[in-house]
């Protein structure tokens, strides 16, 4: 052991052990740091979830409006549907509102409604003919569709639908709901654009606030330990060991804090908006895959921010001359 030896690197498991012990020792301080992370991520997540809820509620409301309109037209044209045989021909995929309309109708008239997909044969006779789906190319001609109908009326959900063959003069084709005028369409597009812009803006602001909150929490917890880092270096800790220590500590704190923050950020807006709107509506029309994606992204953001915010000052402190690190007071 004469002359000078080489300091061995401590195994990673030992570093994990030491950093967990160090977090336990300063439990109170760890909780303060943790709540900084929780707060930041909860803020980000609750903003994201609020947007998701508002989108879901808005979409739900639009559907209901459309369905209401469809039902109104249907009733004014058809009147009472008692005893009537209804045929619904579906071309392509139906919009959510069309499905909802059909469901409502089906609930009222079980057995009275017959749904015909694209290629299937039409029934011999029926009293009411409705055409749904978003495919503009109809497989049948209007003459075929109205062959078994007494009043030659077709209720169509798509104004731009192109029927094959000639249109007989006695056939009346009515639209289910008023087509949007070009002005209204432009207005809606503008609204949607504004909403998207607002969402992006809120997300950017949230990410910034989260960044500041999380990095502040971690920065404080590291800089107040500069002296401690200096002491550890004087006692023979390697710089790499100190970096490892803070890497472990900050990633554990970051992941745990983000997970809790995500949970709070989901539950809080759910409860608050749940009172204003309706839990069922929110739960039913929520975009769950997008919610999951947001949660994962928020946890990653929280963890990466924590590690970045801790590792930079820890690296600076670890590379300092021990005598200087000892003197620094924060």
């Amino acid at each position: 052991m004469d002359q000078v030896g080489t300091q061995e690197k401590l195994p990673f498991s030992r570093a994990v052990q030491i950093s967990i012990r160090s977090m336990k020792i300063r439990l109170g301080r760890s909780i303060v740091t943790l709540s900084g992370i929780v707060l930041g991520i909860a803020f980000l997540m609750s903003n994201l979830v609020s947007q998701l809820i508002l989108d879901a509620v808005k979409e739900e409301r639009e559907h209901r409006q459309t369905v209401g309109l469809m039902q109104a037209v249907f009733h004014s044209e058809v009147g009472s549907i008692a005893e009537k045989q209804i045929t619904a021909v579906v071309y392509g995929e139906m919009k959510a509102a069309e499905k909802m309309f059909l469901d409502n109708l089906g609930g009222l008239t079980s057995g009275q409604i017959q749904i015909i997909r694209q290629g299937a044969a039409l029934p011999e006779t029926s009293d009411v003919m409705i055409v749904l789906g978003q495919d503009p190319r109809a497989a049948h001609s209007l003459a075929q569709l109205t062959a078994g109908l007494p009043d030659k009326l077709v209720l169509d959900a798509l104004g731009t639908r192109d029927y094959s063959g000639d249109t007989p003069v006695d056939v009346r084709r009515e639209l289910f709901f008023s087509e949007q005028t070009a002005e209204r369409r432009a207005e809606l597009a503008k609204e949607r654009k504004e909403a998207t812009f607002r969402t992006i803006w809120i997300v950017i602001i949230s990410v910034f606030v989260t960044m500041i909150s999380v990095s502040n929490a971690l920065l404080m917890s590291v800089t107040e330990r500069f002296r401690e880092i200096g002491t550890m270096k004087c006692l023979g800790a390697l710089s790499s060991f100190i970096r490892t220590l803070f890497l472990i500590e900050s990633s554990l704190l970051g992941a745990a804090g983000s997970a809790v923050g995500v949970l709070i950020g989901i539950l809080l807006p759910m409860v608050i908006y749940g009172f204003t709107y309706n839990f069922g509506v929110i739960a039913g029309s929520m975009d769950y895959p997008l919610l999951g994606l947001c949660a994962v992204v928020a946890v990653i953001i929280g963890t990466v921010l924590s590690v970045a915010a801790a590792i930079y000052p820890a690296r600076v402190a670890a590379n300092m001359v021990p005598a200087d690190a000892l003197r620094s007071t924060v």
Binding site: D2, L10, E228, G236
Partner: protein, 259 residues
């Protein structure tokens, strides 16, 4: 710690037996300039000093004369602006970070003027820390740390945090920590400054025993007369320069002359 000094050998393992004579530390014309904005402080202005193995040396000097700065230089905690420091004939400026860490961990024990205990850790954990850096497993480290704490009279306080302790007790924890890895060299910056007469004497006794039995080289900064008397040499520093080197006997004469 009154009756326990005979077990010092047990704390210090066989590693210390391989010491041989010669200069353990040599400083050659070391200078240290602190740059603070536009102003410069010349804390050391060219200090050349050879310290023998197993020597007990005291450093005297007024406040701000550069004692702590000198300790930082010869302990490998700071780099001189100019000049060289050799520990065991090795120029420490040539050491890589791993060797420097090894040196700080095992070769040198530090007792800092401001203790530098880790506030959130208990005394026991503070003393165990250098041992864990040396790779000692927790069980062994705990036993050894308890032994050393007993030695400085703090066995019953091992689980207290530094804030809960008096200045003198904290100083003794700092002393215990410096002995954690059985160092060859002990750098003690005013180790008895906060201790009462009795405890101070016990620490001096411990130092003398470490030197006599184990050949530990001890360098202290102190104003404590008892400590100066126990040492082999007294080095006087003023304004970053060594003004004289005396033996305690010569110093006694000077002090009696003053009085």
């Amino acid at each position: 710690m009154t009756t326990q000094t005979e077990t010092v050998d047990q704390i210090f393992d066989a590693a210390s037996s391989s010491r041989h004579s010669g200069f353990v530390i040599r400083s050659v014309d070391i200078r240290r300039v602190y740059q603070m904005g536009d102003s410069e402080t010349h804390a050391l202005r060219g200090v050349t000093l050879d310290i023998e193995r197993g020597e007990y040396m005291s450093i005297m000097g007024p406040s701000g004369s550069g004692k702590s700065t000198f300790f930082n230089m010869i302990g490998g905690l700071d780099k001189p602006t100019a000049g060289k420091v050799y520990i065991d004939q090795v120029d420490i400026a040539q050491l890589d970070p791993y060797e420097l860490a090894w040196l700080r961990c095992r070769k040198v024990g530090y007792i800092f003027q401001s203790f530098n205990l880790i506030q959130v850790m208990s005394c026991l954990e503070n003393v165990m820390l250098p041992m864990s850096f040396a790779g000692l497993d927790s069980e062994k480290a705990r036993d050894k740390a308890m032994d050393i704490l007993d030695k400085v009279g703090l066995g019953d306080r091992a689980l207290h945090k530094p804030q809960e302790m008096s200045g003198g007790q904290q100083q003794r924890v700092a002393i215990a920590r410096s002995l954690a890895n059985s160092p060859d060299i002990l750098l003690a910056d005013e180790p008895t400054g906060n201790l009462d007469l009795r405890t101070g004497e016990e620490i001096i006794e411990l130092f003398v025993k470490l030197r006599d039995d184990l050949g530990v080289t001890i360098i202290t900064a102190t104003h404590d007369l008892k400590m100066l008397r126990a040492s082999d040499r007294v080095v006087w520093i003023d304004d970053g320069l060594i003004t004289k080197v005396t033996t305690p006997d010569e110093m006694n004469i000077e002090i009696s002359e003053i009085h």
